[in-house]
Point group: C2
Chain length 382, copies 2
DNA sequence: GCACGATGATTACACAATGTAAACATTATC
DNA sequence: GATAATGTTTACATTGTGTAATCATCGTGC
């Protein structure tokens, strides 16, 4: 119910009432509760119209949450408040072949450093979130970090001790951040697939009616689209990722994979250097479209938002995705039935997504004391 | 809440209380309501243990629902009660190339005949359900019947007039019937994918926490697994269906597609006739496994139930599916992580699945009068 | 500078759904 | 036929919500 506050980053009461489908009376009661617990604040504002509302409701800056993001390059730790302010950041480089023990050592170290900072400031963490690429349900093996995910989860929870912590897939956090954080400028508002093409190729089905923490990753990267095709790090052949990941295209454009996304606009200029470079990349986009069409056949959606290197490509090249869709999507690509949008990859924003996700989890738990929460979780398991 | 009654086909109160996570007090109150409306009945039974419950709660036989199933071969209409009894059945042969106008004519005729029967018996229909292969969300084109699905839905609703009617995908109805109807003998109890390989290849993710009427079809059939592969009726090439549908294998075993599933046990005997027949079918099962693995990468599940011709194959041949999974499923096939089961295709059971689905929809609406229901539906749309 | 109108915010009250706990009912066994 | 064990119902308290009345706030216009 106060999820919408997090989404909008502050709203007037009538708007809240509409969003939550509650009466203003209920809003009033709930807000007075939340004010007591210092979770929301009211700022006086001149009314936007005659007789209009006077107080803008925002989430409190007194609640501190932590976000930790693991990527191919680094482990980022951040502490901030519910409004998105980042008060503490710590980034440590990590290797792509990070082992589980090494990860645990680094992670514990980072968390301890962060806790010390928090203690010095007298800040109490209300929630933490950890975003890991490829993290998935159950003990399903992670193609990126071949770890025992149950052990990772247990380890993370122990490391945080009393602080409630949520572990999620990096792409889920990223999608939630893009879609629901108040940065605006997100291309679609309805249910859609958010697809990120980076070191892996993963997406999330962003369903407006489902709470963000129920989202689960949509691992498109390891769909086999070419029998006996290129070898993939997962051990199979012909996966989407083997053709379209940063590593796969880095050999085409001759730029180390970790630098590609940083190039931003200069990316396009690089393309025309090599003779068949653009053509080769178009072929890769075609394959991405083919896999995407397959995925959409399984799970029909009318909108897809793509982030990652394909969103840096010139629009005429992005059309190669459409060609791929035309070979797999039932009924072919039809602009009336499917909207394709692109959003620039967010570089150096880590660990904002995890932080946002932590804020979301905190807000969703309703700001109750951790004890109650754990109990609910236990009941769900039982 | 009384969904569980439909699932179990009758239960004692303590069991209901556990299933619905309500107190026995609440159960008591709710049951007294439902008894007033003649939706449930209580039958005296000897207590199963000392001090045990004495009255078995069952759904009333006074509520009549209708189910209509369209398949490649025929249109089946049935009327029955909530306990699964089928009081009226009417089956009409249809052609596989049924046009939309022709369908509407046949459908209207069947419904009128059924209504006349109901009127003669003084039966009032409380709910109807129509199951159509390939029926899907939105106006997504149906690869089996290339109709305007919005128009079909509208037509069906108009034909039934006052009777609330639900239109759904045939495989959804089938999965719900197999899984939740009290026939028992369903191989798994947890979340899983029910996959039916018939004229099409479609599945449903049977999620225990989701209401059956929110299930949506998982169209595996048109995943392209072979670029420039066999032509499929959908217009693309290399779809799973082009390799594994009844039509596809009918050319291998030399039996008309509509007869294959009827063969039952004699199916195996036919296999050894032709020299490479079994080998060819194993190749097809391999491709099914490949596509299935791709689907499970997108949507991880620990259990899959397969129905259709593959479930008639000898177990050693079914292993070809595992070979396919090993080439696409992340981490390969592992019996600890994925349970594959087979269930015999239900032939001649139509329109039991649609009837069950109708019962489900009725029960889910809580037996309220249709007016209230429509309003709720309208609100959900808005 | 002050009354007015429009809207927002709060509060009292009614109502519905549920859990708790106590009272009451049923049945097999001794 | 008393007893023990369990099932069933009822009274009461609690919670969350909507309705509607009341109070508050602000821009406008005289």
């Amino acid at each position: 119910m106060l999820e919408s506050l997090l989404r909008t980053g502050g709203a007037f009461r009538p708007i809240l009432a509409r969003e939550t489908k509650l009466t203003e009376a209920s809003i009033s009661r709930i807000l007075s509760e939340l004010r007591k617990e210092n979770i929301v604040e009211e700022v006086r504002r001149p009314a936007p119209y005659i007789g209009g509302p006077t107080a803008l409701i925002t989430l409190s800056k007194n609640v501190a949450v932590a976000g930790i993001e693991l990527s191919n390059n680094r482990l980022s730790v951040g502490v901030g408040d519910l409004t998105g302010t980042l008060d503490y950041v710590d980034r440590m480089p990590v290797s792509g072949q990070l082992g589980q023990d090494e990860f645990e050592r680094l992670f514990r170290e980072s968390v301890v450093t962060m806790q010390e900072w928090a203690d010095r400031r007298g800040t109490h963490l209300s929630q933490a979130a950890v975003a890991i690429p490829g993290y998935g349900r159950g003990a399903a093996s992670n193609p990126i970090f071949p770890w025992d995910m149950a052990r990772v989860t247990r380890f993370i929870e122990e490391t945080f001790g009393d602080v409630p912590v949520a572990v999620t897939n990096a792409v889920v956090a990223q999608a939630a951040f893009h879609r629901y954080s108040s940065t605006g400028a997100y291309p679609v508002a309805s249910d859609h697939l958010f697809l990120f093409v980076g070191h892996g190729v993963a997406g999330v089905i962003v369903d407006e009616t489902t709470p963000v923490d129920a989202f689960s990753a949509f691992e498109l990267g390891h769909m086999v689209i070419q029998r006996d095709g290129l070898a993939c790090r997962c051990g199979h052949r012909g996966c989407v990722e083997a053709y379209t990941s940063l590593r796969a295209i880095s050999t085409i454009i001759g730029v180390p994979d970790r630098d590609i996304l940083n190039k931003g606009d200069s990316f396009i200029e690089m393309l025309d250097l090599g003779g068949g470079t653009r053509e080769a990349l178009r072929e890769r986009l075609f394959l991405l479209g083919l896999g995407l069409g397959n995925a959409l056949n399984l799970h029909p959606l009318s909108s897809v938002v793509i982030s990652g290197w394909p969103s840096l490509m010139p629009p005429e090249d992005q059309l190669a995705i459409v060609d791929g869709l035309n070979e797999s999507l039932l009924g072919g690509y039809d602009a009336n039935r499917l909207v394709l949008s692109f959003i620039a990859p967010s570089i150096g924003n880590d660990p904002r997504a995890a932080l946002y996700y932590a804020a979301y989890c905190f807000v969703r738990s309703g700001g109750l004391d951790p004890r109650t929460d754990t109990q609910t979780a236990l009941e769900e398991i039982a």
